[in-house]
């Protein structure tokens, strides 16, 4: 707030800004939109009002990394205040707390697909005008209006980055190299495998059953009937004796690989990069089909700084910034124009992160989405909801 003195405004606005600094929430919003010529962020105009000087985000660690956030702060005067979350669960809880909608405190949340529909249904996020995000038209088609952030044609935020769930392994212990997810269900490396401690992991089992047991009739790994959910749960229970542990945080999995307790397991390119950076004998494969995650910057329903939020969504989806974030975190941009910038930062990274694959490749990655009772594939409501998944997961890990 204090650094944002450049605004060409009269005393009234300065007073409003000071009030905003004191009383955080509503007054900041008022101060911003009063200078914006009356255009509300929900209308279809593309003009954005004045920046409010602050942007409060709930994020995955490094999602507003200083390397690309600092130029944004200097350009717009929107100073970013970060609240890191370790799991989707924590992210949802933070957004849902204090009356929901970000509690009048948070503006944006970098939600993954297993939380985004929950946030939409709970009314914690609100639609944005996608016309205000110029880079959106360049996105990979999968990420323009994906089911996990677009409902009834309304965009509850803008896709930002994605990645496949990968199979990470220790090259000294796992010989020959794994070829597919089947290796995580085989007893060859009994006691040295790991898997994420996340109910959405049931989808990985469901996807595996889709290939190996067509008689179950699984059409979508996130839309399971009771019988299908039970089958996936059973598979996971039978896998349990093979595992050393379920990992909760990415850092935990890294530690387990480093300490030699774990030799192979599902993770993200992030862990692989960290482990390789620490000179560990670690590689990963992306067995297809696989599950994957895709993250969305979503606008909090009670965002106190909507203009700064919009400016951030515009900025973070531009090709150069997309490339910077991808390399920092170890993930893939949704904007393919980022490709040359990625290669400029790190030669060959565009191909390494699969940003130049054909359409058929992307269609084999089933992106996380919150399980809901409505089955998309048989237009009935007998699919198991997220609470049922949580209880089934307790059956596995309990």
């Amino acid at each position: 707030m204090r650094r944002n003195r450049k605004r060409s405004s009269v005393t009234v606005l300065v007073v409003a800004a000071v009030t905003a600094a004191l009383a955080l929430a509503a007054s900041g919003c008022g101060g911003g939109s009063s200078g914006g010529g009356g255009s509300s962020s929900e209308s279809t105009t593309t003009a954005i009002g004045k920046a409010e000087g602050s942007l409060n985000v709930i994020e995955w660690p490094y999602y507003t990394d200083k390397s690309f956030a600092q130029p944004f702060e200097q350009k717009t005067g929107c100073i970013i205040h970060r609240k890191d979350a370790g799991t989707s669960q924590e992210m949802f809880a933070l957004m849902h707390a204090n009356g929901g909608g970000g509690g009048g405190q948070y503006d944006l949340v970098s939600a993954s697909g297993d939380a985004s529909l929950r946030l939409i249904d709970a009314g914690d996020v609100k639609p944005i005008d996608i016309g205000q995000i110029p880079s959106w038209k360049d996105f990979l088609p999968q990420f323009k209006s994906p089911a996990h952030n677009t409902v009834d044609g309304k965009h509850y935020g803008v896709s930002v980055q994605w990645g496949p769930n990968t199979l990470i392994y220790n090259t000294q212990k796992v010989k020959p190299a794994p070829t597919g997810w089947g290796d995580t269900y085989s007893s060859k490396y009994k006691g040295n495998l790991t898997a994420p401690n996340n109910p959405i992991q049931i989808a990985d089992a469901a996807l595996y059953l889709m290939e190996t047991k067509p008689s179950l009739g699984i059409k979508d790994p996130y839309e399971l009937t009771k019988a299908q959910l039970t089958a996936a749960t059973q598979l996971l229970i039978s896998q349990k004796p093979l595992l050393k542990r379920y990992w909760n945080y990415a850092a935990d999995e890294i530690t387990s690989f480093k300490n030699g307790d774990v030799w192979m397991g599902a993770g993200w390119p992030y862990q692989t990069l960290q482990l390789q950076g620490a000179k560990q004998p670690i590689k990963e494969i992306v067995p297809l089909p696989t599950t994957g995650w895709a993250d969305t910057w979503m606008l909090a329903a009670k965002a106190p700084h909507p203009n700064c939020a919009t400016k951030w969504m515009q900025y973070v989806t531009t090709p150069k910034v997309e490339a910077q974030q991808a390399i920092v975190f170890g993930e893939t941009p949704v904007n393919p124009l980022a490709c040359p910038y990625m290669d400029k930062i790190q030669k060959g990274s565009c191909a390494a992160y699969h940003l130049n694959e054909p359409e058929s490749y992307y269609s084999k990655i089933k992106f996380w989405k919150t399980p809901v009772p409505q089955c998309g594939w048989n237009s009935s409501s007998d699919c198991m909801d997220y609470n049922a998944w949580v209880q089934a997961w307790a059956q596995v890990t309990g």
Binding site: Q89, D261, A394
Partner: protein
């Protein structure tokens, strides 16, 4: 009273007013009690008892699975889910109880000799050093200690390094229930040592001498004199170790294996999306602790606090 009144006449104005005030409260003990207790009592009633009430009430509601909003219809569904034989929750509750019991027992066995030495054998100086050593771990963050244990217990960690150095085979301790048992025992041990120490220190030397005069040897004195007198201290310590284990979810997450879910884990996994269910499961350890405290009171634990 008459003498006091005389003193009042002679004193300066402020002093007189002060004395009158203290006299006022001295004559009305109930008002004095209210004045002293009002704030902490209000905090206790509103913040603690009040929240427990809300917790219990919300455990009788349900949550919409779609919007995660609470639906205010009275139902026992959450408790039915917990107590259903097919579900995982009874097993998780039993595992939690078992872990708490084993940890408490281990802490008691380890704490007794240490506390005995500190209370009755050690010189003043040694006692001070031991006190610092018992309390020192509490000065660092619980999380830091857990992560340290992760490293110690790891496949290539300190324990296996030492075992291999002695020519013994390495153990698979990392991410097991045994790892949780070790870590819990370590982190809660100070909470057992202190009350046991307090109880041991209060035993008069003459009791032990009398026991010896009557011909009792060490074991007999321990069983018939020391143990009954220390028991309230052990029970008091066990309240801490038991309750702390019952409510924890971080240790299973960081050092537990594949079947390490505890009550706290389930509460953590559900509180954001299914608050009423999380509340219902949180009532279970409260009920257990309630029963435990009643038994503890019978055993005289509160005299040793």
């Amino acid at each position: 009273m008459a003498v006091d009144a005389g003193a009042l006449e002679t004193g300066p104005l402020v002093r007189r007013a002060r004395l009158r005030l203290s006299g006022f409260f001295w004559q009305r003990p109930w008002l004095r009690a209210v004045g002293l207790l009002a704030l902490p009592l209000a905090a206790f009633l509103v913040v603690y008892v009040g929240s427990l009430g809300v917790l219990f009430v919300s455990s009788l509601w349900t949550s919409s699975s779609l919007t995660s909003t609470i639906e205010h219809t009275w139902t026992l569904a959450n408790y039915r889910t917990i107590f259903s034989r097919a579900g995982p929750y009874l097993h998780i509750a039993a595992f939690t109880l078992e872990m708490a019991a084993v940890v408490t027992l281990t802490c008691a066995v380890l704490a007794f000799p240490l506390a005995f030495f500190m209370a009755r054998v050690a010189s003043k100086r040694t006692r001070a050093v031991l006190f610092v050593m018992v309390l020192l771990p509490l000065w660092s963050s619980y999380l830091v200690r857990l992560y340290a244990w992760q490293t110690i217990l790891a496949h290539n960690g300190a324990i296996n390094w030492a075992l291999n150095g002695l020519g013994l085979p390495g153990q698979n301790l990392a991410y097991t229930n045994a790892a949780m048992w070790i870590v819990y025992t370590y982190v809660w041990l100070p909470f057992m040592v202190l009350p046991v120490y307090a109880a041991l220190e209060r035993i008069p030397e003459s009791y032990l001498e009398a026991s010896a005069d009557l011909g009792a040897r060490g074991w007999r004195t321990f069983r018939s004199v020391i143990l009954p007198l220390v028991l309230p201290g052990i029970v008091a310590g066990s309240i801490f170790t038991f309750a702390l284990t019952l409510g924890d979810y971080i240790t299973p997450a960081l050092v537990g294996g594949t079947s390490s879910d505890m009550i706290g884990t389930v509460v953590y996994q559900n509180f954001a999306t299914n608050l009423p269910f999380a509340a219902a499961f949180a009532v279970i350890p409260m009920a257990i602790m309630g029963a435990y405290l009643l038994i503890a009171r019978r055993l005289g634990a509160f005299e040793a606090l």
